[in-house]
């Protein structure tokens, strides 16, 4: 799988490259600034891009802008965005196109190598991965509005994991319950929140986010 990497700190760039190579990815380019990233994304047509939001030359959201720009000419180009912080507004902008193949994670999550590599694979496969912090804040917000008050604690757990882009199997494993129990909870959540059930993982996350951000 061909990966383009954008990260301006040498140590991190080096570490990320090694981690990805160890897990069988081919890092075709590792750039350290926004313009180079955009150029590479358009020329190299990678299977997935792993991008730091804050890049030179402006050191603002250069990486995010380059990724969004590249997706305008190549829709659904899989992009996993990394950042020192997660912001709801950036999550919205990334999801706005609705094509999926988007990930948005805190840089801390890199230290969980397997989860990080899973996230890269999910995004490359067209899935959506949102950082647990984004989900926690969305849940807290809809909690304060009373929109998730009708869910049981277990269903809330399932919803949070689901929104992070995990499959039923992964949810089951994390919560130590059977996969059929997850399916049952999922059905109950969709009914209670009046979301049309769908087989597609990606659309499932989008539906959850769409519901939560209301």
């Amino acid at each position: 799988m061909r990966v383009v990497l954008a990260e301006d700190l040498f140590l991190l760039r080096d570490g990320l490259t090694r981690t990805l190579q160890e897990h069988g990815f081919e890092v075709i380019a590792a750039v350290d600034n926004g313009p180079a990233l955009l150029k590479t994304l358009l020329e190299e047509q990678p299977d997935v891009a792993v991008v730091d939001i804050r890049l030179p030359p402006t050191f603002t959201d250069e990486g995010l802008q380059a990724a969004l720009e590249a997706r305008r000419s190549r829709p659904a180009l899989p992009v996993l965005v990394l950042s020192q912080y997660v912001d709801q507004l950036y999550a919205h902008e990334l999801l706005a196109g609705g094509q999926g193949a988007i990930g948005y994670l805190l840089k801390d999550r890199i230290t969980h190598t397997t989860q990080f590599v899973d996230a890269v694979r999910t995004v490359a496969a067209g899935g959506t991965v949102m950082d647990p912090q984004v989900i926690a804040r969305l849940l807290a917000r809809s909690d304060a509005r009373g929109t998730t008050a009708q869910l049981t604690p277990r269903e809330l757990d399932v919803l949070a994991l689901m929104a992070e882009g995990r499959s039923n199997a992964a949810v089951a494993q994390t919560l130590f319950i059977s996969e059929s129990a997850v399916a049952k909870h999922t059905a109950a959540i969709f009914t209670k929140l009046r979301i049309e059930p769908s087989a597609d993982d990606n659309r499932r996350v989008l539906a959850v986010l769409a519901y939560l951000k209301r």
Partner: protein, 442 residues
Amino acid sequence: MTEPQVDMAQADRRPGSSLKGALADLGRCQLLSLAALAVSGAGTLVVGALLLLPVGIGLLLLPPAAAALRRISDRYRDWAARWTATAISPPQPLPPRPTPHENTTGRHRQARALLGDNGFWHDLRWAWAEPWTGALLAAVPLALVEYGLFGAAVQPFVWRHLGDGNWYAFIPVDSTPAMLTALLLGLGFIAAGLKLAPATLRLHARWSRRLLAAPHTTELVRRIEHLAGSRADILDVQAAELRRIERDLHDGAQARLVALGMTLDEATRLLDRDPPAARALLHEVRATSQRALQDLRELVHGVLPPILADRGIGDAVRSLALDSHLDVHIETALPGRLPAPVESAGYFAVAELLANAAKHSGAPEVHIRLSHTDGALRATVTDAGRGGADPDGSGLQGVRRRLDPFDGTLVLHSPPGGPTTATLEIPCASSSPKTSSSSGTD
């Protein structure tokens, strides 16, 4: 000197908007022309006291006379503010009156202080001018209305009895048609008088401001005092902020990194002897490093939210709205980026106002409008909640402290029962000519 904040409810009550308003203004003109008597009385008293200074009685007489004049001029300043929203900055308070126990030298000193006081001479100058200029000005609409009443309400009944010499304005009133003309003319005078009353009041207020406003030097002294005070505040706040950051780093991330090093050391030693224990310790290390990162993230967010640094106040407030459990509607009309300190102060102030609305208003939605007009960043936060917000609450005091260094203002309009509107303004120039205008609902 910054203009004193005029309460919005008062500013709405501008004169001359209706017949009732015009009548009220006419009454005020009447009051002004009568009050001129008090002004000239007090002025005469002061001049008398000055003339009697050489014989000593003046020493006793001057302070109370000056105080009386000051009370009247203060009343005029108050009227100007209440009737026409014309703010007249008051002079420095008069030197304190001598206590009954003080001896003659004390009185001498008081009198000298009074004679050296700029505001006192301003008051006196005004006391001589006001009866001739201000009172005559105020009398114009009054005279028009009164003469008009004579034409419209009195002429019809008396013209038959008055005979040849009866003129009204330029009409000899000796026949019914002439009487009717006089009546119409009278109505015209009344209308003109009523129409003129609000404008006259405004003119009078402007005239009063010219004579009564504190001298330029007083304003400068006040401005300097204000600046010195707010600079001291800023330094205090800044020092406190640095202390907080230092403490947070020291007790948070720094301590966690130390613990991390110790645990790593321990794990290294256990690696050969007891691999499972080493593994457990390494898991602990990871958890600690994540908490350290979390600490640092929160610290950074408290100093300068990254999205504010990246995108500016518009998107930062939009991001704020996404985290709020209220429905926040945002409208922005900002010319690109503003100076960083202004954006920061504006952002934290809006964040505080939004938090206030979420906590106290009980309203389900909030409207926020950001704009850059007349060289100032202006933010309006409106909710249709229960109102009655306490303008001296700690949150709003904090907002004012944030705006103070920029000469910014916060006007709160929150009648009981709502709605609440908070408007803040921070004078600043925009740093980019590019205009971006957008609106959205989140």
